[in-house]
């Protein structure tokens, strides 16, 4: 931060009293905010607070019902993303729209509004990569790149248009700590050159480290604006959820490990072509009463490991996976659940739950083995609905009742239901991927508390997550999965963030591109 942004110039972006409604929801109500030239401005809020809708309005994907937008002091109508790009607004989405089988160059060319000859485009891309010291090879195919590198493609694609405002939507959710630090360097440089950045996130310490101003949304309204460099993270979190934050209650004398409940011994499994990751000699054990965390950057075998443990992919050797000493390597998902091993995959719609089914019907999907819901092949409606109601009440699922379609729930709400459905069955071993991904802070705390409580009752829990903060808060021991290999588990107490980051990104990161010296 070399010089303070010019206070006299008109706002780069100013929203005045913007409102937007959808049937049944007021997504944005009377929102005003302004972003100065060269400012990194945080848009902060929980899921469902209206951040996405607001950003979609700014980027021309949706139109505001009321209110006005002005850009560099002039009132503007942003009718489409193309119009937004023409004004000088670029956006990097949380989920990248890249073709895995094409090169970086081809992907960038596809996203441009004008046609540029390949050689000229390559030269322009190289110029940007050089001036921001971004390591990225334009000729590599996307499926060989790490998530951080993929994100760089999107950033370069925006920078090619010489933007005046760059919107970043939850950019760090899948990055290693080192990749996050490098992204911040890039963003600071972009801002220094006069481009404003609207940074959407719910990770408060990142906002503190990066942003100069913050607008906090809750329930579709602006509840506060502040300077995150001087505000405490706790205060911002409480503004965000509109309530006091609860601390995780750990049982007294926690951390005493019991007998091994789940042991995995040299588990090998070929990945599904073309882009699956093979599991190579994965070994670990989870003990009664403990939470074992598995960290790692997305796409390093987490999905494959979960499917291997749940029984959706079979290992082929019976004793590669043991539950309380019994070999279950050949048992399918239903048999494993009956034996006491429950799993929650990362993808909710279509994997952990059927979106077109009601919540009650979704109870039958995974709870019929351990609860007497269909003892003789006949589904008993009464107990099914009773269990669904119980889960809804205990996990505070905000919904009319067990007859609601799973697909009509917000992501966080559905996750609460799915976690509740599994935890309520009191499994001996619970394996969960991304337990609080997309869940608001209050609900995330409740889910983490439920996991801690389940462990306290003697179950073993394995949490596979990309959210290091969460793993450090929850786990007793932590290991890292990298290119299908699992590291030794180490006690979390005394483990440094940098060490884990190195374990995560060490091999997979950017070994193939020369590292610039300044990192």
């Amino acid at each position: 931060m070399t010089q303070p942004p010019d206070q006299t110039a008109p706002s780069r972006l100013a929203l005045a009293h913007v409102s937007k409604s959808f049937p049944g929801v007021k997504a944005n109500q009377d929102i005003s905010l302004s972003v100065r030239p060269g400012e990194i401005h945080a848009l902060l809020g929980e899921n469902g607070a209206g951040k996405s809708t607001l950003v979609k309005i700014i980027y021309g994907v949706q139109r505001a019902d009321e209110g006005g937008i002005s850009f560099d002091g002039r009132p503007v109508e942003i009718a489409s993303p193309k119009a937004a790009r023409k004004l000088g607004i670029g956006m990097v989405f949380q989920h990248f729209s890249l073709f895995d089988g094409m090169t970086v160059l081809e992907n960038i060319a596809l996203g441009l509004d004008e046609t540029v000859p390949a050689e000229e485009l390559k030269a322009r891309i190289r110029a940007i990569l050089d001036s921001y010291s971004l390591p990225l090879d334009p000729d590599r195919e996307v499926h060989t790149l790490s998530v951080g590198e993929r994100q760089r493609i999107e950033i370069v694609r925006c920078l090619l248009q010489k933007p005046k405002l760059l919107i970043m939507d939850e950019p760090t959710s899948v990055l290693t700590p080192q990749e996050v630090e490098r992204l911040f360097e890039t963003l600071r440089q972009i801002a220094r050159e006069g481009c404003s950045i609207l940074y959407i996130s719910h990770k408060l310490h990142e906002i503190k480290a990066l942003c100069e101003a913050a607008t906090i949304l809750r329930g579709g309204k602006v509840v506060a604006t502040c300077d995150p460099r001087i505000e405490t993270t706790r205060r911002m979190a409480e503004l965000m959820i509109g309530a006091e934050l609860k601390h995780l209650q750990r049982p007294s004398g926690g951390g005493k490990a019991g007998a091994a409940r789940l042991s995995v011994d040299k588990l090998d499994m070929p990945g599904e072509p073309p882009f699956g990751t093979s599991l190579k000699g994965v070994s670990f054990s989870a003990q009664a009463g403990e939470i074992l965390g598995i960290a790692g950057v997305a796409g390093n075998g987490q999905a494959e490991l979960l499917m291997a443990l749940s029984g959706e992919h079979l290992a082929g050797q019976p004793d590669a996976i043991r539950l309380d000493g019994r070999p279950i390597g050949l048992a399918n998902a239903g048999a494993r659940r009956a034996a006491g091993l429950a799993c929650v995959p990362e993808e909710r719609n279509g994997h952990a739950a059927v979106p077109e089914f009601t919540l009650a019907e979704n109870v039958v999907l995974t709870a019929r083995h351990r609860l007497p819901l269909a003892p003789s092949g006949l589904i008993r409606q009464g107990p099914v609905e009773a269990y669904a109601k119980d889960v809804i009440a205990r996990f505070d699922v905000r919904i009319t009742g067990p007859g609601a379609l799973a697909g009509s729930l917000s992501g966080g709400n559905l996750q609460k239901f799915i976690m509740g459905r599994e935890i309520g069955q009191k499994p001996d071993v619970l394996v969960v991927a991304q337990p609080t991904w997309g869940v608001d802070a209050g609900a995330a705390a409740a889910i983490r508390q439920a996991l801690v409580d389940l462990a306290a009752q003697g179950s073993a829990i394995v949490v596979i997550s990309q959210d290091l903060d969460e793993l450090l808060e929850l786990s007793d021991r932590l290991c890292v999965i990298n290119e299908g290999r699992l590291s030794q588990a180490r006690p979390v107490a005394g483990l440094k963030l940098e060490e884990i980051g190195l374990m995560m990104g060490g091999v997979h990161g950017e070994s193939h591109v020369a590292e610039p010296a300044h990192v």
Binding site: G350, H351, A353, E361, V364, A374, L378, I379
Partner: protein, 354 residues
């Protein structure tokens, strides 16, 4: 002026209303088309869609035509629910009739209550065996059942032609390509003395109720629905998609085979080259018109039976060509698929022109 807006939840009302809208559009289009080529369009549509319903002497015929459609469509709908696209029910229908007729020819000189049940079992087995081939190919080699089941239909029909012109030709039949007439022990009894309605008609309704119960109240039916809606979730829940594929194809083939046998032992009383009338294909329309729900299928089969009976009426009264029936059925399927969009989208007036 108007634009499509996505509904927040699929509309329950439109789920049931859109088939009725499709029927209305079919009648309107048919009226315009036949009017344009010189027929009395209104009379033609009235003859096809209204006359069969208001003349009581046609009702028995409606029931007899609806029964095989119900049975076949039930089997297809169960498969469609599981994302298994068996469109070769016509072949399974023919093979069921052939297997049942085989039993009939073997027992031609015998009498006894057991003969018809034995023929029915053979019919089910014949249809199921014919559907087992696509099942095997799909599960083992991932061959699309759409192709295999359809192509096997033509094999079945050619096999029927071969049998009635060759080994099974009635020696006392004046060289006509047809089998012997079935004996009284081999013919379906009527529900009442002198009625055209045979026992297959109430049986079809009972089977629809059984299918409804299995689909909505049992774990087996749940497996079918979940495999079709979300294969990954099905595997997560411990359901075996291959087993479901086998079950729904065998059930669908068995139901089509039973329908074939009932048709052979009922209205036909023998096998002839005219036996395959396309019920197996029409049943696809029935399944979709009935929203893949067993109860809906009973009503949908009645609608299609109306087009068959009405088509015959229109041939004699309005001199419509016999192909008109097929055209109306095709129009119905077309509008049905088109109006489906109303379930998830709604037409809204755009306030501000963009």
């Amino acid at each position: 002026m108007f634009e499509w807006r996505r509904r927040r939840e699929p509309s329950k009302a439109m789920l049931y209303l859109s088939p009725l809208i499709a029927i209305g559009l079919t009648m309107l289009t048919g009226m315009l088309v036949f009017g344009a080529i010189g027929y009395d369009g209104l009379r033609a549509v009235t003859a096809i869609f209204v006359t069969p319903l208001i003349e009581p002497q046609r009702w028995a015929d409606l029931g007899v035509k609806a029964a095989p459609l119900i049975m076949i469509a039930l089997g297809l709908a169960i498969g469609f629910r599981a994302n298994v696209w068996n469109i070769g029910a016509e072949g399974q229908y023919v093979m069921g009739a052939i297997a049942g007729t085989g039993v009939a020819l073997l027992t031609h000189d015998m009498t006894g209550w057991w003969i018809l049940p034995a023929m029915a079992l053979a019919g089910i087995a014949g249809g199921a065996a014919w559907a087992a081939l696509p099942a095997l190919l799909k599960v083992r080699l991932q061959v699309s059942e759409i192709l295999t089941s359809l192509m096997l239909t033509y094999v079945a029909v050619q096999f029927l032609y071969y049998l009635v012109r060759g080994p099974w030709k009635d020696p006392d039949g004046f060289n006509f390509p047809q089998t012997k007439m079935f004996s009284t022990s081999q013919t379906l009894p009527a529900v009442a003395e002198g009625s055209l309605v045979h026992v297959g008609v109430p049986l079809a309704v009972v089977l629809a109720l059984v299918a409804w119960f299995v689909l909505s109240k049992t774990v087996a039916g749940y497996a079918v629905r979940v495999v079709g809606r979300a294969p990954a979730a099905a595997r997560h829940g411990g359901f075996d998609a291959n087993r479901v594929t086998w079950s729904v194809l065998l059930a669908g083939g068995g139901l089509a085979g039973l329908a074939g046998l009932l048709e052979a032992a009922g209205p036909f009383g023998q096998l002839t080259p005219q036996f395959p009338v396309g019920y197996g294909f029409t049943a696809i329309i029935v399944a979709f018109l009935g929203r893949l729900s067993p109860v809906g299928i009973v009503f949908a089969a009645l609608v299609l039976a109306v087009t068959y009976v009405g088509g015959e009426i229109a041939q004699s009264t309005v001199r419509l060509p016999s192909a008109a029936t097929g055209m109306f059925q095709a129009l119905l399927l077309f509008f049905l698929l088109a109006t489906d969009v109303l379930v998830r989208w709604r037409l809204a007036f755009r306030a501000r022109p963009a």
